[in-house]
């Protein structure tokens, strides 16, 4: 073949409950292609390697610059964002699968609702509105701001859940992301006022106690969030709360 090509082996699934299957597509090789632009290329001409015309591959994507988290998928067995995975150096065939720890809606598109439900459970926000003007919040020292910023980069993409051996269909563990966010909200002096509510969520089934310390979360996090620090810190907060409740209530 005169022109260089790249083969994508894609795990497909037509409905949330149907059986998954693999299909192979061959597209012209471009070193600056990324997985999403390759999927777009396939969408223009959805014909498999065997020459069969099929429905275009469904995928979720938005920002195309690794800040929204929506195109998280498993590429050659490793979870990451499709948009930041360049074709160059990938070789082939490239296996592209949806995340396995979330319900598949169709093809590579998964439902990450459980992560957002976990954020709600953990009260991962700072209430600033009241029925009257609450006035300006307390000032925050720059080093606290800088530390909190690390955790604020979370895009709820799901990499930490996908790589976690404790997150699966037979466990209730909510994963590292929500622990990082609960910890972030408690860095803020106003957010600290709801610390007890957050710790109650962290001490519930599926909370921080269900962590198995495999620490894959911090390794795969595309935003390099110190998730294991959050786990250790929330572990400390819950230890203190438990002892305080035990001896002072």
């Amino acid at each position: 073949m005169p022109e260089q090509t790249q083969v994508l082996r894609i795990k497909r699934q037509e409905t949330p409950n149907s059986e998954p299957y693999y299909e192979e597509f061959e597209i012209p090789y471009l070193p600056h292609h990324n997985i999403i632009s390759m999927l777009m290329e396939i969408r223009r001409n959805p014909v498999t390697r065997q020459g069969k015309r099929v429905a275009p591959v469904v995928f979720d994507a938005n920002c195309l610059e690794e800040v929204c988290g929506s195109c998280t998928m498993v590429i050659n067995g490793r979870v990451r964002q499709g948009c930041s995975q360049l074709a160059e150096g990938l070789g082939g065939p490239v296996t592209v699968e949806p995340m396995s720890k979330f319900p598949v809606i169709r093809d590579l598109w998964v439902d990450r609702s459980k992560m957002f439900e976990a954020l709600m459970k953990a009260h991962a926000w700072i209430p600033i509105d009241g029925t009257y003007d609450l006035g300006p919040g307390p000032r925050i020292a720059p080093h606290v701001q800088e530390f909190a910023y690390l955790f604020s980069r979370c895009m709820t993409c799901g990499c930490c859940l996908e790589a976690c051996p404790q997150v699966n269909s037979h466990s209730k563990f909510m994963g590292a992301a929500v622990i990082g966010q609960a910890y972030l909200m408690s860095q803020h002096p106003t957010g600290k006022m709801n610390l007890d509510e957050r710790l109650d969520a962290m001490m519930s089934e599926g909370g921080v106690a269900d962590c198995g310390n495999a620490q894959n979360c911090v390794e795969v996090c595309p935003k390099e969030i110190p998730l294991t620090t959050a786990i250790g810190a929330v572990g400390r907060q819950t230890s203190i709360k438990w002892l305080r409740d035990l001896f002072m209530k």
Partner: protein, 219 residues
């Protein structure tokens, strides 16, 4: 239904299902260090006297055979905590789905679960053939008995594998304990504790195997 159960729970136990879950997890973490981990350190220490010969070992471990209320002490300090740690450990292990992400701590995670199961099987075998044997027959496990065990290649292999599993499970457990309770929080602190625990594993592994091999010396 589940909500009704959760609401009814405090009336009986004074705890919600969530609080009970948290307490069981933390008790699992704590029991692995105190008393089980503490005992394993002591057990290796007392048996290390065999490196100075069988008679020294028998003399120095004399007090362990003369503990007041021996059965009650053994049950409280050893059997109940070990049974709890093992049974709840299996409950935790069945919620795991180990994967092949190539990170050192991921391997440690998988090894922690394998070594836990091996340790449980080995401790069961060890206690049945030593303490339970004593309580049923009145025969103490003296030097000759241990010597005969260690001369049997199959039993020696079982002891080496079982002891290494126990020692690995404890040293890696010390590392995860410091994260669970919030002692080692930062990445640097966690890495330091991890390195120290790996070193501790190597030291305890060498000493444990040396003890087992020392029992092969003819009396």
């Amino acid at each position: 239904m589940a909500e009704a159960e959760a609401a009814a729970a405090p009336a009986i136990t004074g705890m919600t299902a969530d609080q009970r879950h948290w307490l069981l997890r933390r008790l699992h973490s704590l029991s692995g260090i105190i008393p089980i981990g503490g005992f394993l350190f002591f057990h290796i220490f007392e048996n290390a006297f065999v490196l100075k010969g069988g008679p020294v070992w028998w003399k120095e471990t004399e007090f362990t055979r003369n503990i007041p209320l021996q059965v009650a002490v053994e049950a409280t300090v050893l059997w109940i905590p070990i049974l709890y740690h093992a049974i709840y450990g299996i409950v935790i292990t069945v919620t795991a789905q180990p994967n092949d992400y190539p990170f050192e701590r991921n391997y440690q995670y998988t090894l922690q679960r394998i070594s836990g199961i091996l340790a449980f099987l080995f401790i069961g075998f060890h206690v049945l053939t030593t303490r339970a044997y004593f309580y049923t027959t009145g025969v103490e496990t003296d030097y000759m008995r241990m010597h005969n065990f260690m001369m049997n290649p199959l039993i020696l292999a079982t002891y080496i594998v079982g002891t290494l599993a126990c020692v690995y499970h404890l040293t890696n457990g010390i590392f995860t304990f410091t994260i669970t309770w919030g002692i080692a929080v930062g990445a640097k602190a966690q890495t330091l504790v991890n390195r120290v625990c790996v070193l501790l594993f190597v030291v305890l592994a060498v000493v444990s195997v040396a003890i087992l091999v020392a029992f092969r010396t003819p009396a």
